[in-house]
Amino acid sequence: MNDDVILKTDHLSKSFFKYQVLTDVNYQLNRGQIAAIIGPNGAGKSTFFNLVTGYHAVSGGNVYFRGKEITNWARHKIARIGITRAFQVSNIYPKLTTYENVRQSILAQQKRTLNFFTPAERLAKNETLSLLETTGLSGFRNTEAGILSQGDKKKLELALALASKPDLLLLDEPTAGMSSEETHETMQLVKRLNKDIGLSILFTEHDISVIFGYAQKLSVLHQGVLVAEGTPEEVRQNKEAQACYLGEEI
């Protein structure tokens, strides 16, 4: 496999009982790329993420990360090798404070969670505060995460994912529930992370301006089948993609 390829799926398929939700998806993401998978609701975008991250067992095909096969690995093992994700519906620790949420993820990344006798509050202070600052959550550090606004929960989930220092970040509708200003801030952050540390990013999104504003590569899923792929401009011109998702004119 080409060294530039960070994620590759080979005939990836998933069925739930008799329902085929993903069929023979051959996908490739290059290192340092920002890419998006788009498609109508039920197209299989989240299922694709679920298969890559071990959330669901694969029914057929294989997943490769940096050339290594990771098909059906345990979720924590996949996270450990450098793939993290943010969910469509924010998936945070609602009873912990924002600070504790981020610190927990940092301590896990630093492999310090089997420490029994050092108070957690003494550890990873600077890293936690810095990441809260980066994600614009400093003002909420003592707030119980469960009562944050939907947009701030999304930001927090992004912070949790970043705390793991991933090589590949999967974002499932990262701006859902955010105001236009928050959307812009979040996607700017994503772009900055991609540029500054070369983080590879794959996201799903419904907001056309976000998709065409930030993705370098687009893939269109329709009823579990990858129907089009290319640069945003190529996809915009693709008849099949237009029919399935984009409408007549953009």
């Binding site: 345990a74 993290t84 998936n91 620790y93 927990q104 896990a108 969670t113 420490n115 550890l123 003592n142």
Partner: protein
């Protein structure tokens, strides 16, 4: 200054309770010294149980098995091998921990009601093994003659000995709950899925926690045998597994001292009510209903909702001087 205030605020309650516990035997009758000894031993049992319930978010209905294993280990070692009590305590922790490791391996694969049922089933398994194994455990007759050393024979002496052991046990438990491992347990309780996605092997961590809980349940059991001068299979029964559940729910499972306070309430009620009526379980059931309906977070839940024990903000302030815009709940 803030840090100092935070420290004082955080530890004033345990320090006050410890001080009260120190002077109690000087002002009460021997009967009540026995009751207080029971309170602190059961308090340790309930606090160990709460590692699983309050911190990990799973309900174990089988912790009495490890309490019983601890009690029987001490009983057997003292009666059959004449081991000194002080050596029996770590031995009991080890055997209870081993029991928890073997049984917990299967339990942590499950969650929710299935976890609860399996822990109860394993608890009953331990109960029946002890109940049936006459040649080794004495079967339903139990083990008698587990006498503490002469210097601990008096009620006050055994109370202070238990207080010292329980205090050390509680301090260790406190450190564990405030450590990164303790926070990982809270994370698992709050969102198991997310915890896996930050790279933590949830099942492995749950098993470690299960073993730690079992060890401290075993330590509490080890104190119980010499206190009661005997042990019986009932110690491992599912009813006895229910006691720490009562205590944790009454005191408050989301505060470290909740189960200990629950033990005070439970044991006091038991001591009082059994003096008036044989229907103690009826009264405890009524109290439980009231607590669940009116105080869902237990006694500490109510106190916390009034704004006490909010120390984290104090600890964190000052780390980021330019930031004063915390949104407090």
């Amino acid at each position: 200054m803030d840090k100092k205030n935070g420290f004082l605020k955080r530890f004033r309650l345990p320090a006050g309770l410890f001080f009260v516990a120190l002077i109690l035997p000087l002002v009460v009758t021997e009967f009540w010294v026995h009751v207080f000894t029971e309170i602190i031993i059961l308090g340790l049992f309930a606090s160990a149980f709460n590692l699983i319930f309050g911190y990990m978010g799973q309900l174990s209905f089988g912790q009495a098995a490890y309490y019983g294993i601890g009690a029987y280990t001490t009983g057997l070692l003292m009666v059959k091998l004449q081991w000194p009590l002080i050596a029996c305590l770590p031995a009991s922790m080890i055997t209870a921990g081993l029991g928890a490791l073997i049984l917990g391996y299967f339990c942590v694969k499950l969650r929710g009601i299935y976890f609860a049922i399996l822990t109860m089933a394993f608890g009953q398994l331990v109960f029946f093994i002890i109940f049936q194994w006459y040649s080794f455990t004495g079967g339903d007759n139990g083990l008698q003659g587990i006498n503490p050393p002469v210097w601990l024979f008096k009620a006050n002496a055994y109370y202070y000995f238990s207080l010292a052991v329980v205090t050390v046990g509680m301090i260790l438990l406190y450190f564990i709950t405030e450590s990164p491992f303790g926070y990982t347990m809270k994370a698992i309780r709050d969102n198991t899925e997310r915890t896996e996605f930050i790279g933590i092997n949830v099942q492995r961590y749950m098993l470690i926690n299960f073993v730690i809980s079992g060890m401290f349940c075993g330590l509490a059991g080890a104190l119980w045998g010499p206190f009661n001068r005997s042990v019986a299979p009932d110690l491992c029964s599912w009813q006895n597994s229910g006691h720490p559940v009562f205590m944790a729910v009454m005191g408050g499972p989301y505060h470290f001292l909740g189960p200990m306070i629950g033990s005070v309430i439970f044991t006091f009620l038991n001591a009082f009510v059994t003096g008036f009526t044989e229907y103690w379980p009826l009264v405890s059931g009524l109290v439980m209903i009231i607590v669940v309906l009116l105080m869902p977070g237990g006694l500490f839940g109510i106190i916390k909702s009034k704004g006490y024990f909010e120390t984290k903000a104090v600890v964190l302030e000052g780390n980021n001087p330019g930031d004063t815009g915390d949104k407090k709940k």
